[in-house]
């Protein structure tokens, strides 16, 4: 993977439109001092041969582990799969005396103490990016949305750009970094932006144009495969999906499934009602909106693309939720949408919960401990 260049973009696989796939990167935490712990090899060894849906894989540092669902038809399916994998993982973690947690960052881990997972691709990334690779010990949720054809995928990708702040505000769960309250709701994304190939995908709307762009990038030698692009949303030809990558891993699998369901309903709304035609100029306000969501969450302001209208992100989410409600109903995710709406109305997300725990308990170790209990579904 690391040394072999993929000169041609693979063909875009067939996948049923609007199917879901969820990947969650998890923190492995020591049961002794609540710091990150490099126990991924142990967990993977004990997980081997256990029955569960989806997959469990290593990540760049050995204190991270990634779980992923199989292809899910709807919210209920996704939630069921997530819970089942979570339970299997937590059971093995219990045997090893380690804890697992959601959240976009570990509140007080020191990046210098992390070790790169022993696999060629990760060593390559570590050599290339130096300390950035270890600083990349952050934890995200990726949601795949199935697309019937590649051109539709690219259209959806760019139509989605406008709603990126929603996904950030809903999932934000990384206020603390290296023991300090950053003031951000999703400080994790600041680590992602440090990478040269992060940001947004180029504005092309046909698969042929995208393949041409890909070939040009390969020719420059800057990238070797699709994996080297760290875009907020990127097409995933092998799966026939677009992959939304801006979310922090939420504090619970329930929240992760709800956010995926919201993205799915939004995709259906965009594809069926075509409320807007994506344009390059939409991206003029993209980074501003994204920053506002990272920094202020629901209270941030976004500029509606193509206008000078500013909206509070909370209002924009609520307004959009009303628009996608009927689609959520058709997809069987009304419950998810209602739960999320309550959170938005109450101004609650992962970041606010982490801050509230810190305010009441006074110690970041206790914040981590409660985070792990919450992830395991053991907090009332």
């Amino acid at each position: 993977m690391s040394d072999e260049t993929e000169h041609e973009l693979g063909t875009f696989s067939q996948s049923a439109a609007l199917t879901l796939g969820i990947e969650l990167e998890l923190q492995i935490v020591s049961g002794q001092d609540y710091d990150l712990l490099g126990a991924a090899p142990d967990l993977l060894r004990e997980m081997a041969g256990r029955e569960h849906p989806g997959d469990v894989k290593p990540e760049i540092t050995d204190s991270m582990i990634e779980l992923s669902t199989g292809i899910c038809v709807d919210y209920v399916d996704a939630l069921g799969q997530l819970r089942s994998i979570r339970d299997t993982l937590v059971h093995q973690a219990d045997r090893l005396g380690v804890l697992l947690s959601g959240g976009g960052t570990h509140p007080f881990q020191h990046w210098g103490r992390q070790a790169i997972f022993d696999a060629p691709r990760f060593h390559h990334l570590s050599q290339l990016y130096g300390y950035l690779a270890k600083q990349f010990t952050v934890f995200g949720q990726h949601v795949h949305i199935g697309c019937a054809c590649p051109d539709k995928a690219l259209w959806l990708l760019h139509a989605f750009g406008r709603y990126i702040p929603h996904l950030i505000a809903l999932s934000a769960a990384s206020p603390f970094v290296q023991g300090v309250d950053t003031g951000f709701q999703s400080a994790r994304l600041n680590s992602v932006f440090a990478f040269p190939l992060s940001g947004r995908a180029p504005f092309v709307l046909t698969w042929d144009d995208f393949a041409a762009y890909y070939r040009k990038m390969i020719a420059t030698g800057v990238v070797k495969s699709m994996k080297d692009f760290y875009w907020d949303i990127r097409p995933k030809p092998e799966f026939g999906t677009i992959e939304l990558r801006v979310m922090d891993t939420p504090l619970t699998v329930e929240r992760a499934a709800q956010i995926a369901a919201y993205a799915q309903a939004l995709a259906r709304y965009l594809l069926e009602e075509k409320p807007v035609e994506p344009r390059e100029d939409d991206y003029l306000v993209y980074t501003f909106n994204r920053f506002q969501a990272c920094r202020f969450g629901y209270d941030g302001r976004l500029v509606v693309p193509g206008s000078a209208e500013q909206r509070v992100i909370r209002d924009d989410i609520l307004r959009t939720m009303a628009l996608v409600e009927v689609h959520a109903y058709d997809l069987g995710s009304t419950e998810a949408l209602n739960l999320l709406r309550t959170e938005v109305l109450q101004g609650r997300n992962g970041a606010s919960e982490v801050r509230a725990t810190h305010a009441s308990e006074g110690s970041l170790e206790e914040v981590v401990r409660q985070g792990c209990a919450r992830w395991a579904g053991r907090l009332p």
């Binding site: 609540y34 126990a39 142990d42 045997r95 005396g97 110690s363």
Partner: protein, 401 residues
């Protein structure tokens, strides 16, 4: 001529042993650094060696003259180590992973059996053989805590090493006290004493441990808000108070402190983490601890036990290794991790040795049989133990230096 005020010191000057001890501390600390940088071994490997050399040069009076305050210093060092060690035992983990608890029983029982069998085979009487078996159960908390802390090791091998050490030390102390009861019965035929003495030691020991843990968790709310150094001072004060109490009540330090740590960790669900400087305070005292242990080792100690001591060490290490390996896979570690964990448990325990010495003082008849062999085995492991643990942690890949 008037009598002159003679202010110059005697010649040759009369150096107090304190000077020698201080010199030994400096030497040990520097030697520790040298060992770490040039041989890649933990610093504490150097301390007992330096202690041994200093004692050989300066002679016996060194330790004897200062035994009172040295003993006190050692007690504090040990108390801090044991409190931290106790707090590493997560009962919820043992509940989730019964195999780990079973591993702990298994390796302790195997070690007891091996040492007891060797003792009996070599013609030791029943009671001393039981005492030695009990001592053999415990892995050295001091060596293991320090090597793990120094190499910043984290992972299955190092965490389990600490948990198993805490548990086997507890078993050893309990067995030892029960055996003391047996001794009372054996030598005095006093049943009341046989039952009430161990009951008092264990019961009161647990109560004092619980009291310390309660006291610490009461002040915990304030500790969080205090700067780390000052929180450490408060904790240290509480530990010193407890030691005072333990001495007054003639209770075992080992059990009280381990139990206090255990309650501290498991008494409330709240996350408990020691302030960082608390460990540093212990670190300074640990140099003294290992130095003094070394001072008590004489070259002839290493030899008197002779083959018997080596057989003892070998049988005990193999028993511990077997106990761990037997249940390695069901307990959730790889064979390789099991091998390293089993070997790393081999250092013998100083505090249990102290307890044995106490028993020896109560019953001088044992001095001839029990003490030399046990001392010899302990002395050898005191020198070799840290190296074994360090190598095991190195091969486990859990060191983060």
């Amino acid at each position: 001529m008037e009598h002159a005020v003679f202010f110059l010191p005697d010649w040759p000057p009369n150096f107090s042993p304190l000077l020698w001890i201080a010199l030994a501390v400096v030497g040990a600390a520097l030697a520790g650094e040298w060992v770490r940088q040039n041989l890649g071994l933990p610093r504490i490997t150097a301390y007992p060696v330096i202690g041994m050399v200093v004692a050989a040069l300066a002679g016996d009076p060194l330790v004897a003259q200062h035994s009172e305050w040295l003993r006190w210093g050692l007690n504090v060092a040990l108390a801090i180590l044991l409190l931290e060690l106790g707090s590493r035992v997560d009962l919820a983990w043992l509940r989730h992973n019964r195999w780990l608890l079973l591993t702990s029983f298994c390796e302790s029982l195997a070690a007891f059996g091996a040492v007891f069998a060797v003792g009996r085979y070599l013609g030791m009487a029943m009671v001393p053989a039981v005492l030695m078996g009990a001592i053999g159960m415990a892995s050295s908390p001091a060596v293991i805590m320090r090597v793990v802390a120094e190499s910043k090791a984290q992972g299955q091998v190092s965490t389990r090493l600490l948990v198993l050490t805490a548990l086997n030390t507890i078993y050893a102390v309990v067995t030892l006290h029960l055996a003391t009861g047996g001794l009372h019965q054996h030598y005095r035929g006093d049943w009341v004493l046989a039952i009430s003495h161990p009951l008092y030691l264990l019961g009161a020991g647990l109560v004092v441990g619980k009291l310390l843990a309660e006291a610490i968790s009461r002040v915990d709310r304030w500790l969080i808000k205090m700067r780390d150094e000052y929180a450490s001072i408060v904790l240290l004060g509480l530990v010193l108070m407890t030691i005072g109490l333990i001495e007054a009540l003639r209770l075992p330090v080992t059990l009280c402190m381990l139990f206090a740590g255990l309650v501290l960790r498991n008494g409330t669900p709240r996350a408990w983490v020691f302030p960082r400087h608390f460990g540093s305070v212990g670190g300074v005292l640990v140099v003294m601890l290992f130095l003094v242990v070394g001072m008590q080792i004489r070259i002839d100690h290493l030899l008197t036990g002779g083959i018997l001591a080596l057989v003892l060490i070998g049988a005990r290490s193999l028993a511990k290794l077997g106990g761990v390996l037997l249940l390695a896979r069901p307990a959730g570690i790889s064979w390789r991790q099991g091998l390293l964990l089993g070997l790393a448990l081999s250092p013998t325990a100083g505090p249990v040795l102290v307890a044995a010495a106490d028993v020896g003082q109560l019953y001088p008849e044992l001095q001839g049989t029990l003490i030399p062999v046990a001392m010899s085995a302990a002395a050898i492991m005191e020198l070799v133990g840290p190296v074994i643990v360090a190598l095991c942690l190195k091969f486990s890949g859990e060191r983060r230096e």
